[in-house]
């Protein structure tokens, strides 16, 4: 099994994702430079956090026009797994692989803190190793993670079970005080219609080892590996 980690010049969680794949999951992994116009043979793509091209404009707005982007779109359209974390999520919405947009946090401040998430749907390549409705803890670190979309899109996301993670309290309670950025419907992570592209603001790669204070993020990567293995053996 092989992961690809896309690297934009301003990516800064690329090495963390690479490390998780290589040293924690013990899987193959390769960096993919933003100027490339082909993808190597990988089973899943990670678009990591960071500031793609500085993001002085809207986050991810320039990344959408990078050389590698059409390849990522093709990869996604073929049903292959794409995981966008933080800036990766922003890029996926800019590239229209996911609906909606990430606005500035309602506090107007960057926030780096552990938050609680509720696994709203564990029937997905990304969440199958979680329990239904499981409450997990994961860090966020972003200035623009305030998810927004129009009412029809939101209804679609809800009805089709495409909201995988929502922000919540330690007991799963949903309240504004547990929402770190003002995100619509407490949305922390969503998938596309086909379910093979996940965008999420929290950082699973930052909680994939006990030494970092938790392994709730490892479960997400284990879900991906399990799903790919199963797909492989079919």
């Amino acid at each position: 099994m092989k992961f690809g980690v896309v690297v934009f010049p301003g990516s800064n969680c690329d090495a963390d994702c690479f490390y998780t794949a290589e040293k924690v999951l013990r899987e193959e992994v390769e960096y993919i430079w933003h100027q490339n116009n082909h993808l190597p043979a990988v089973d899943a793509l990670i678009i990591p956090g960071g500031f793609s091209y500085g993001d002085y404009l809207r986050c991810g707005a320039v990344a959408r026009f990078s050389n590698i982007m059409p390849e990522i779109v093709k990869f996604a359209e073929n049903g292959r797994l794409v995981l966008g974390i933080c800036n990766g999520f922003q890029i996926l919405t800019e590239a229209k692989l996911l609906p909606g947009a990430l606005l500035r946090n309602d506090s107007l401040k960057f926030i780096c803190a552990d938050v609680y998430l509720k696994v709203e749907n564990n029937n997905s390549p990304f969440t199958n190793a979680y329990q239904p409705g499981e409450i997990i803890k994961m860090p966020v670190a972003h200035g623009e993670g305030n998810y927004f979309c129009d009412p029809e899109t939101l209804a679609g996301l809800k009805n089709e079970g495409r909201i995988l993670f929502t922000y919540c309290g330690p007991e799963g309670e949903s309240a504004a005080e547990y929402n770190p950025n003002g995100s619509l419907a407490n949305i922390a992570g969503i998938v596309n219609k086909q379910g093979n592209v996940l965008g999420m603001m929290p950082h699973p790669e930052r909680c994939a080892e006990t030494i970092l204070g938790g392994t709730d993020g490892l479960t997400l990567f284990n879900s991906i590996c399990g799903w790919l293995r199963k797909a492989d053996s079919k």
Partner: protein, 733 residues
């Protein structure tokens, strides 16, 4: 642009005469500007160099001491830490966001210039009273600036300290520290190689921003300082990120002889410093320097402090590969001149010679001032103030007030704006321990960092205060499980030409040096920031220490939160009977007076060794040093962050209750351990002859202090937590 006189550039009559002697003629305008910035306090330390000689700089772990862009310390496995702290006080006073942001940018460049991958940022901040509207906007702007720059670079901001006090109202202090990790073989120094080597510039184009920034940093802030906003640079963290990655690739492929960042005094300083060390000269053509503005004079190009620029001296025949790597990162590298053999700094504009100065005159031969300090009147007056006759103050109220004091209250409002986790190494995060602890991937090791300063103590007693600051930093590392290796410092003082300020500086440096020497923690890098005054009033003398420590095994780390009910709470070290300079006196009585608790270096050293021994055996469940707010605040913090309460009995005679609770004297810490570990801890305490008091247990959800079975303080975790957590957010709402 109106031409400045040499006085307006910050030079004195004597200095101007000296320049004429060096040149054997009058300088032209360009040359005058180059001298002015190079001879500013910021660049040449003319008022402090003599005093800095007091610091111990050698040690078994030291690979590179002061004199380079940053210090380098061995941590085994052919790895080393590279670190330095630097001030950006005046720019931040005028333009808080950009001032703080470019402060981070500058210190990060110092680290990767040495070939190291920056892995951690810390800071140390001082502002006026948080209630003041202007202070709020400065504070908020500085924090956003640090966040905006550091977060974009993907370097975690893992630690720091923030204090509020009247003396900083017109002149905040913004000190930033960066730590890098490097393999021994990759350490790069700022040297020029041999004559004939081309010199390249890479990164941002040169503009008119920041001209005379170094001079501006070396004078007092006045009403007119607002007009110097053009002397504050604007940061571009994305450009810096590209430079980091590209420069580290150059190092990895061994393509450069020398690398130097462009900081204060821009091209003038970076070129002079690079060639002066090897005794060479240099020729630079300002027409070759890429600019972002038209019609810039040679003077403007040479003095610009535009950010995110690097100077590169490539290895022979490697220019092409250097350019290729820069191109990969979308950067232009341009040859702007060459190293020469004649020892002259020659500025050309095409064929025209615009200026010519012996390099040594700008660097090694810059002026040195040895001044005579005078003990200020306040010193003895404050020292003799007796704290025994204070009126009664309710202890519960005192604890609540202290927890809500912005100097003690939770700093989550600040550090949650910093990405403190990126790189996935942070194992003790801000707010959870006395020091930030990072793992080093692919090894068992960990490293720990802290920044510490205490302007109030240093003001009241510069010598004891100077010692105390070094000791506190070392104690913080030891509490977290790390052996202190070396330190960097940022010496923030007022105008050194005032004899009282010079005395403060002299005594503080002597105190710091004595502690560093005794604890065997050498000084490997640092920065001096003088003229921190506004309206003629100096800030409290505020030397800040940044210290790095090593954990041979990351498993030996220890944070400050309680872990389980039933654990014993043990106080290590002798009780302190002195309230002078404490936060308690300040918060409850409005007094910043009294004799500073004397520092006992032998006790400090013993405590550090003792704690490290216990951590090595993994005997402690939590550990926290006793500093601002004393034992009561330290215990309350350990309780609030963990959600466990405690019951503590202070049945000790001979020391008044308020001193048991709130005195801040060092050489002390408290820890918790399981009942089963108790005997082992006591055995080690006996071995080390460490004074030890079991004061209570972790229990319930209340903070309870008793004396002779009488309750003196009884607060719920919720009440205490509210005071501590909501104070700063409330002020900033």
């Amino acid at each position: 642009m109106k031409e400045l006189t040499y006085k307006e550039m910050g030079l004195t009559d004597e200095e101007y005469e000296k320049i004429i002697i060096h040149l054997r003629r009058k300088p032209n305008y360009l040359e005058l500007g180059m001298f002015a910035v190079m001879w500013s306090e910021h660049c040449c330390y003319k008022n402090s160099r003599h005093l800095l000689k007091n610091f111990p700089t050698k040690g078994a772990h030291v690979i590179q001491g002061p004199g380079e862009n940053a210090g380098v310390v061995d941590i085994g496995d052919k790895q080393a830490l590279v670190f330095k702290i630097e001030s950006h006080n005046h720019p931040s006073a005028i333009e808080p966001y950009q001032g703080a942001a470019t402060g981070v940018g500058g210190i990060v460049r110092d680290i990767f210039t040495m070939g190291a991958r920056p892995v951690a940022l810390l800071n140390s901040l001082r502002f006026g009273p948080i209630e003041d509207a202007k202070v709020k906007s400065l504070f908020s702007g500085v924090v956003s600036g640090i966040a905006g720059y550091g977060n974009c670079l993907g370097i975690p901001t893992v630690g720091g300290e923030v204090y509020f006090g009247d003396s900083y109202k017109g002149n905040p202090l913004v000190n930033a520290m960066c730590v890098g990790l490097v393999n021994h073989d990759d350490i790069a120094l700022a040297v020029a190689g041999e004559a004939g080597r081309p010199i390249m510039i890479v990164g941002s184009k040169t503009g008119r921003d920041g001209i005379h920034g170094a001079t501006f940093a070396s004078e007092e802030l006045t009403q007119a300082s607002q007009q110097k906003r053009p002397a504050v640079q604007v940061g571009d963290p994305f450009m810096e990120k590209l430079l980091i990655e590209a420069c580290l690739e150059l190092i990895k492929e061994d393509l450069v002889i020398g690398m130097q960042d462009l900081g204060a005094a821009g091209l003038t300083s970076s070129i002079a410093e690079t060639v002066s060390k090897s005794g060479y000269g240099v020729e630079v053509d300002v027409q070759m320097v890429p600019r972002r503005e038209t019609k810039m004079s040679a003077y403007e190009v040479m003095l610009s402090e535009s950010q995110e620029r690097m100077l590169i001296v490539p290895r022979l025949a490697k220019e092409k590969r250097v350019s290729e790597i820069f191109a990969k990162w979308g950067l232009d590298a341009n040859v702007i001149g060459k190293v020469t053999g004649d020892g002259m700094f020659r500025v050309l504009s095409g064929d025209q010679v615009e200026g010519e100065i012996p390099v040594r005159a700008l660097t090694d031969d810059s002026p040195v001032y040895i001044r005579q300090g005078v003990e200020p009147e306040y010193y003895n007056k404050n020292k003799n103030f007796k704290t025994d006759a204070l009126p009664y103050f309710d202890n519960t109220e005192a604890l609540c007030n202290l927890l809500a004091s912005p100097n003690i209250a939770s700093k989550a409002w600040i550090y949650e704006q910093y990405d403190h986790q990126v790189m996935a190494n942070t194992v003790i995060e801000p707010g959870n321990g006395d020091a930030a602890v990072l793992r080093i991937k692919d090894t068992d090791k960990g490293v720990a960092f802290t920044t510490d300063g205490n302007g109030r103590l240093v003001y009241l007693d510069p010598f004891q205060g100077g010692k105390a600051v070094v000791c506190e930093a070392a104690r913080n590392l030891a509490c977290a499980g790390a052996k202190p290796l070396a330190l960097t410092n940022c010496l923030n003082f007022g105008n050194p030409e005032k004899p009282n300020v010079y005395w403060q500086m002299e005594m503080a440096i002597k105190g710091m040096a004595e502690a560093a020497e005794y604890l065997e923690i050498p000084v490997v890098s640092g920065n001096v920031s003088l003229y921190n005054e506004s309206g003629g009033q100096a800030v409290y003398p505020t030397p800040v220490v940044g210290m790095a420590g090593l954990l041979e095994d990351i498993k030996h780390r220890c944070d400050m939160g309680f872990k389980q009910a039933g654990d014993l709470i043990i106080h290590f070290g002798p009780w302190c009977a002195e309230l002078g300079g404490s936060e308690y006196l300040s918060v409850c009585y409005g007094l910043e007076k009294g004799a500073v608790p004397p520092v006992h270096l032998a006790q400090e050293k013993k405590l550090i060794d003792f704690l490290l021994r216990l951590h090595k055996e993994n005997l402690l469940n939590s550990c926290h040093d006793i500093s601002e707010g004393g034992l009561a605040v330290a215990l309350a913090e350990a309780a609030i962050v963990s959600g466990f309460g405690f019951l503590v009995s202070l049945d000790f005679t001979g020391v008044p209750l308020n001193k048991l609770l709130f005195a801040e004297g060092g050489g002390r810490a408290f820890a918790t351990c399981g009942q089963a570990q108790w005997e082992k801890v006591m055995n080690f305490a006996a071995d080390f002859a460490m004074e030890t008091h079991v004061v209570g247990t972790v229990t319930g959800n209340r903070l309870v202090f008793k004396k002779q079975e009488r309750e003196i303080i009884n607060l719920t975790l919720e009440e205490a937590g509210k005071q501590w957590k909501e104070s700063i957010p409330c002020h900033m709402r």
